[in-house]
């Protein structure tokens, strides 16, 4: 049997499980909120075109609209000013092989439960590697915080001084890029950066450094608690939008075993 026949057989038999890491696209799912003087991120919206009625007797279909960064979504390097001049930096030009990659899942849900502003540092990552081994080059690093289990107001967790949600500092991101050559960083929160990441040095280190180095982001993931620390394969092809800065997408994980 060929490699792929073995794989597809295992997927069908359940020996390899398919786990959906995606939130449902729902008009009520939070989006990033900016000050009123900036352009705003459009939330997911649906308008029914017909539903077996006078507008279309035998068919049901709808128009939908959203931002490239609505719901569970992919960030391409061109999303950030630091990545604007890189080659193959928009979703339509990225090598499609990049959309199938192994993942390391770093579980810091206990720490985040105690501190919504938990900051992931290079030392945290090194400590994780002591237990689980080095992060292989070309992997996704998925930052498990269980933040996806929050809903409503708790999700953005906006206070008078802005959002309070976990994220990495510049040291952690530099380590992942320079020492581990990861393909990208994935999170359960609305952005790869911490809610207070604008006050870090540099501001928004995940966006600034990852995209400046041609790496990708995955945001608003869920079900990371169903993934092993190592061994999962992530399938994450964004929509092929011309010059796209990102895209809502279905993120799947393949996991071996029961």
């Amino acid at each position: 049997m060929s490699l792929l026949e073995t794989l597809s057989g295992a997927v069908m038999s359940g020996a390899v499980r398919t786990i959906d890491l995606t939130h449902t696209l729902d008009p009520d799912f939070p989006v990033l909120v900016l000050p009123p003087e900036f352009g705003q991120c459009q939330p997911f919206r649906i308008e029914e075109v017909s539903r077996y009625d006078e507008r279309g007797p035998a068919w049901y279909w709808r128009n939908f609209s959203c931002n490239e960064h609505t719901g569970t979504h992919f960030d391409a390097p061109i999303h950030w000013v630091t990545g604007k001049d890189l080659p193959h930096s928009s979703v339509d030009t990225i090598d499609p092989a990049a959309f199938i990659r192994p993942a390391c899942v770093l579980d810091f849900s206990k720490e985040v439960a105690k501190n919504a502003d938990f900051v992931l540092t290079a030392d945290h990552i090194k400590a994780w590697e002591k237990t689980h081994g080095a992060i292989p080059a070309g992997s996704w690093v998925l930052f498990r915080t269980d933040w996806s289990k929050r809903s409503g107001e708790e999700y953005l967790n906006l206070k008078e001084d802005g959002a309070h949600s976990p994220g990495p500092d510049a040291g952690a991101i530099r380590y992942l890029i320079n020492e581990r050559d990861v393909i990208g960083f994935g999170v359960e929160t609305i952005g790869t950066d911490a809610g207070q990441g604008g006050h870090f040095d540099p501001p928004y280190p995940a966006h600034t450094l990852l995209h400046g180095a041609g790496r990708y982001g995955l945001q608003c993931l869920k079900n990371l608690d169903q993934l092993p620390p190592k061994g999962a394969v992530i399938i994450s092809p964004p929509l092929k939008i011309k010059h796209g800065s990102g895209s809502p997408l279905r993120v799947l994980a393949l996991v071996e075993g029961k």
Binding site: D28, Q40, P43, R45, E47, E48, G152, L156
Partner: protein, 418 residues
């Protein structure tokens, strides 16, 4: 003395809901001109420039001297009730349901003797304060009120048929996230609303004033985002049958002309709220309200749109926004046709720039949220369908009436307005 209105009991759910009926509505074109003025609460009659006589009823040629130079003039509301008649029978189904019904002849200070509906406290020989309003068929009528305020005056059944008094009615305020929305909620409660539904969009973000607002009695939070058709439909399916007055406070205003902006993204956001939002509300809440125009003391009575006065003539400082407001205004006109004959009035309350964050750099005069909220309640209590709140709105409206072309030039060629 009029008996005080009692809080209506809960409706017997097995009872038939009366269909809204309307009094006779056929009018001449001249009489429609009277209606247009009555809709704004303006008491006007035509005056002949030839002989100075006031015409009544409205006509095309002066009854005294046959001149066709008739011009609409504001007249004094003063007069005297000459004679009254109480109708105990009528072939008209609207009045049949409301018998007995009193009408009378009033000698106006301006000259003519006119026929008018009578307030319950009016007696022959009494001094009159005359008002012009639209009735349930949307046509202009006259009503004689006591010259001085009487007890429970606004509870009179003939008067209440012309007004949209919030007393004992249930009000939906579509967006309470803003100071304006919150001021409208408080004003509605003060005006006697039995319940105010608080439309809240994006419950996943906090907003200023929320705690105090939610602590108010006789209110109920309703998730409602006018930019989301599903949300509007869900809200309507939950509370649509209970809304007697809908006040659409959802507004989105940003400065700039087309060329002052780089894209249509913000304009779309403005249209989503100001135009499509209003349209989604009409489609979801309109039909139920239209069917409840005669549903007891707390029948559905008013659909309130808040519009920038620059919907009438564009102000380039907020040029694109004014365009979306013009679209919303036009939609409100088509909504008049949707609601015609239902007993639900479409009430357009025009205002100048609000004293809020969106208009922070503008100099005064600006309309405070409280002033606008109180203007809305006044419009509802008076039963007018068009109202202008604040100095700027009144001034622009006046200039627009006099010479729309001139106003357009004044607003668009005057650089220092920007």
């Amino acid at each position: 003395m009029v008996e005080a209105l009692k809080p209506p009991k809960r409706k017997n759910p097995l009872r038939y809901t009366r269909l809204p009926l309307a009094p006779p509505n056929a009018r001449s074109r001249a009489a429609l001109a009277f209606t247009a003025r009555a809709a704004e609460g303006r008491l006007m009659l035509q005056q002949c420039s030839g002989c100075g006589a006031f015409a009544y009823p409205p006509r095309d040629i002066c009854g005294a001297c046959w001149s066709d130079e008739l011009h609409w003039r504001d007249i004094s509301p003063e007069g005297k009730l000459l004679a009254e008649t109480t109708l105990h029978a009528s072939t008209n189904v609207y009045f049949r349901e409301r018998l007995p019904w009193r009408v009378g002849s009033v000698k106006l200070a301006a000259g003519p003797v006119v026929l008018a509906h009578l307030h319950g406290d009016m007696r022959e020989g009494d001094d009159v304060r005359m008002i012009a309003r639209t009735d349930k068929s949307g046509q202009g009528v006259l009503m004689a009120l006591p010259a001085k305020e009487t007890e429970n005056m606004s509870d009179d059944k003939a008067l209440r048929a012309l007004t949209c008094d919030p007393k004992f009615r249930r009000v939906l305020v579509t967006d309470v996230r803003t100071p304006l929305g919150q001021a409208v909620v408080r004003a509605a409660l003060t005006a006697g609303a039995s319940k105010v539904f608080l439309g809240v969009a994006r419950e996943w973000t906090p907003f200023a004033g929320r705690e105090a607002l939610y602590a108010l009695e006789n209110t109920e939070v309703t998730p409602l985002d006018v930019t989301d058709g599903t949300s509007v439909a869900e809200a309507a399916s939950a509370i649509g049958g209970k809304i007697d007055i809908l006040i659409n406070t959802a507004q989105y205003a940003r400065p700039g002309t087309a060329m002052a902006r780089r894209d249509v993204v913000t304009a779309r956001d403005e249209m989503e709220v100001n135009f499509f939002g209003a349209m989604r509300l009409l489609q979801a809440f309109g039909p139920a309200m239209r069917g409840r125009g005669a549903d007891g003391e707390n029948s559905a009575v008013a659909w309130v749109n808040l519009l920038s006065v620059y919907a009438l003539s564009n102000w380039p400082a907020y040029g694109v926004n004014a365009a979306t407001q013009a679209a919303a205004h036009s939609l409100s006109q088509s909504a008049r046709a949707d609601f015609a004959g239902s007993g639900v009035k479409v009430v357009n309350v025009f205002h100048g720039p609000l004293d809020d964050e969106e208009h922070q750099p503008l100099p005064p005069p600006k309309v405070t949220p409280m002033a606008l909220a109180s203007g809305i309640m006044t419009a509802l209590k008076e039963g007018v369908e068009q109202s202008f709140v604040g100095d700027i709105a009144r001034d622009i409206a006046e200039r627009w009436r006099e010479d729309p072309g001139l106003l357009e030039r004044e607003l668009t060629l005057t650089k220092n307005l920007e």
